[in-house]
């Protein structure tokens, strides 16, 4: 009988280590798997039996003896018994491509990865030309999952077309948006998938060096990625002459240093070069002059992970998921004040309400939901009238919101939306790279103006001024940091003005 206790950040943060020690004390060595992404059940203990993998959760160390007793008699009688984990509706109803392997086994075990169809995409890619690989990516309809949703195949074609002695693949793993953990879950639950996707990208465009730019706030992912890379090199899935193909791809993890702006691709490249993370003006595009001035593919973790699926299952299979111009699956991350938070992978098109009510089951506090922020700190706060919007890049853009990296943060009715608008500006003060004035100074003035509005100092004129300031930031900033900080501010003004004027909680 095999036992599984996850080793991902959330499971550890909820006490997985103590639960694992309790199992060891009982003479059982658990497999340290990745998380399934059902975070409200962490630490989730799974026991492999003839009836499938039975779940118990959330477990603490003191539950272990009674669970072991129950397994001898009637497991279903235990109060934490969840039944077959794969039949839990939250998981069973998902359309998992990127997260199909998450939680099944030890994330850094190469044999486990290969048993679960790992490196099949790479093997397929090794028999194709660079152009054929790029064509598959184009046909899949894959758009960048970092937030900007730029078609990945077009970016790759640009890099492929460049004539250069050196090209780079850079993975943007600086997942700084609050409410997001999809990249982390890939890196902690299935790191080889990212390694495979990056290697395929290298083959496609002719790049021999890759970097994963990982945020320093992810120590567990850092440890697991380094182990995975070391083992992939030993097994010749990375390095010189990959699997006897004559092709080369080297990969290295580089740690960020706590700057949110380094999630912006040009700032990230500056940081990788060892400089301040100052945003670059475009053009030149990074695809033409990127890292160290060379043609560079910069893609998010999820984009590169999806490449493994596309090359394994074919562009058409991937393309068959989704709606409109948003193809494939979206990694939705349900967070904040939510009863059942976690990772939900679904084809584009599910509505926000379905995610929050059906999967999330409402707030953790049990109070009514007041606002939902989608797409990180630069995303709009959506009032209930907008929760029936389908999760699709274009549908969200149409209501002046964005899907971004797919993070959803739920607030209950105690939230003060004026305070949240102020925080959006304050965050921009702390995290602006400082290169352009609308972002650097505008954010500071934004905090001040919001304070005056709330304090009822010449409120009407200050409201006009705040809108003016938002225009300046939106139109005059160099990148999305200053350009989109007004989104949460304006949505708070549009839908929750009473929080600014102190006229009670009645939303407009």
């Amino acid at each position: 009988m095999r036992f599984f206790i996850p080793q991902d950040t959330t499971a550890l943060a909820c006490g997985a280590e103590a639960a694992a020690h309790a199992l060891q004390a009982a003479g059982i060595e658990p497999v340290r798997n990745g998380s399934r992404g059902m975070f409200w059940l962490e630490p989730l203990l799974e026991v492999e039996t003839e009836q499938g993998r039975l779940g118990f959760g959330p477990v603490s160390s003191k539950d272990i003896p009674s669970i072991l007793d129950a397994l001898e008699a009637d497991a279903s009688a235990h109060s934490l018994y969840l039944g077959d984990v794969e039949k839990i509706a939250y998981l069973a109803s998902q359309q998992r491509l990127t997260y199909a392997r998450a939680g099944l086994g030890d994330p850094v075990c190469l044999d486990n990865y290969q048993t679960l169809k790992g490196f099949k995409g790479l093997k397929n890619a090794l028999s194709l030309t660079g152009q054929q690989i790029v064509d598959q990516v184009k046909d899949s309809g894959l758009r960048g999952r970092g937030g900007a949703a730029f078609p990945a195949g077009i970016k790759w074609q640009t890099v492929l077309n460049c004539d250069s002695d050196q090209k780079y693949i850079v993975c943007n793993a600086d997942e700084g948006d609050s409410g997001t953990f999809a990249d982390r879950l890939v890196m902690e639950a299935d790191p080889y998938q990212l390694i495979e996707g990056m290697t395929i990208a290298g083959l496609a465009v002719g790049a021999t060096q890759g970097y994963i730019y990982l945020r320093s706030e992810y120590p567990v992912a850092h440890k697991l990625l380094n182990i995975a890379i070391e083992r992939a090199v030993e097994a010749n899935f990375l390095g010189e002459n990959i699997q006897g193909s004559g092709q080369t791809f080297h990969l290295e993890v580089r740690l960020g240093a706590g700057a949110y702006i380094c999630g912006e691709e040009t700032s990230l490249l500056e940081s990788l070069e060892g400089k301040r993370g100052m945003v670059r003006a475009k053009p030149p595009l990074p695809a033409i002059e990127g890292l160290f001035g060379k043609p560079t593919v910069v893609n998010n973790v999820l984009t590169l992970a999806a490449i493994s699926t596309i090359l394994e299952q074919g562009a058409e299979t991937y393309q068959n998921f989704g709606m409109g111009r948003s193809r494939g699956t979206l990694a939705i991350q349900l967070a904040g004040n939510i009863k059942r938070g976690g990772l939900i992978e679904l084809a584009f098109g599910v509505t926000l309400r379905e995610v929050v009510e059906d999967y999330g089951q409402g707030t953790y506090s049990g109070r009514p939901i007041r606002a939902i922020q989608v797409g990180g700190p630069l995303g709009a706060f959506l009032p209930e009238s907008q929760w029936d919007t389908p999760m699709d890049y274009e549908a969200f853009a149409a209501i002046k919101a964005m899907i971004g990296h797919g993070g959803i943060v739920v607030f209950d009715d105690t939230a003060d939306m004026a305070a949240q608008a102020r925080f959006a500006m304050e965050f921009c003060v702390v995290e602006s790279c400082g290169k352009c004035t609308p972002c650097r100074i505008g954010s500071v003035r934004g905090v001040e103006v919001i304070d005056r509005i709330v304090a009822n100092e010449d409120r009407d004129n200050n409201l006009i001024l705040l809108h003016d300031l938002c225009d300046t930031m939106e139109l005059g900033s160099l990148c999305a940091m200053g350009g989109m900080t007004p989104f949460p501010v304006r949505s708070a003004l549009a839908h929750f003005i009473n929080d600014f004027t102190g006229e009670g909680k009645g939303d407009n």
Partner: protein
């Protein structure tokens, strides 16, 4: 505050070890901070010389990133997540409690040198907020009582 001969030597050794790496500065600064606990002012000239940069460039990088410290910090670092998902679960109250309980503000260190308190913007544990990082361990669903426990486990004189 000066640094010891040994620390100066290990900084020089690290510069030698990293200087040929493409984009060496961030990995080098992380390594120095890992060894010494912070990036001393006196290291800037050594780094600049080794990497063929100006001292202003090195200083500019050290000061740009939140992670790099230019003075000694506590034996333990406690970070409280200030980002939206944690705010939705009461991190503003947790911040106020933490500052009052430790008697320090953000970026300060307790008088006994045990704990430095820092803000952080997202630890990626947003489904089980509020989150706190104690050194390299991330802890979920931290309320005031849980915070007190975490601090008590770190010893010190409080």
């Amino acid at each position: 505050m000066g640094i010891s001969q040994n620390e100066q030597q290990s900084i020089s050794d690290l510069v030698d070890q990293y200087k040929d790496l493409p984009g060496a500065l961030l990995p080098l600064l992380h390594a120095i901070q890992g060894e010494v606990g912070y990036v001393p002012d006196s290291a800037v000239a050594t780094i600049a010389l080794g990497l063929n940069l100006s001292r202003a460039e090195v200083h500019g990088v050290v000061s740009f990133y939140h992670d790099f410290k230019t003075h000694p910090v506590g034996r333990n670092t406690v970070q409280i997540c200030r980002a939206e998902a944690c705010q939705a679960m009461g991190s503003r109250e947790l911040e106020a409690h933490a500052k009052a309980a430790l008697g320090i503000d953000y970026h300060e260190t307790t008088a006994d040198g045990n704990i430095t308190l820092e803000p952080v913007y997202c630890l990626g544990n947003c489904a089980c907020s509020p989150s706190v990082r104690v050194n390299d361990d991330i802890v979920a669903r931290v309320d005031s009582a849980r915070f007190n426990e975490l601090v008590a486990n770190l010893g010190g004189s409080q």
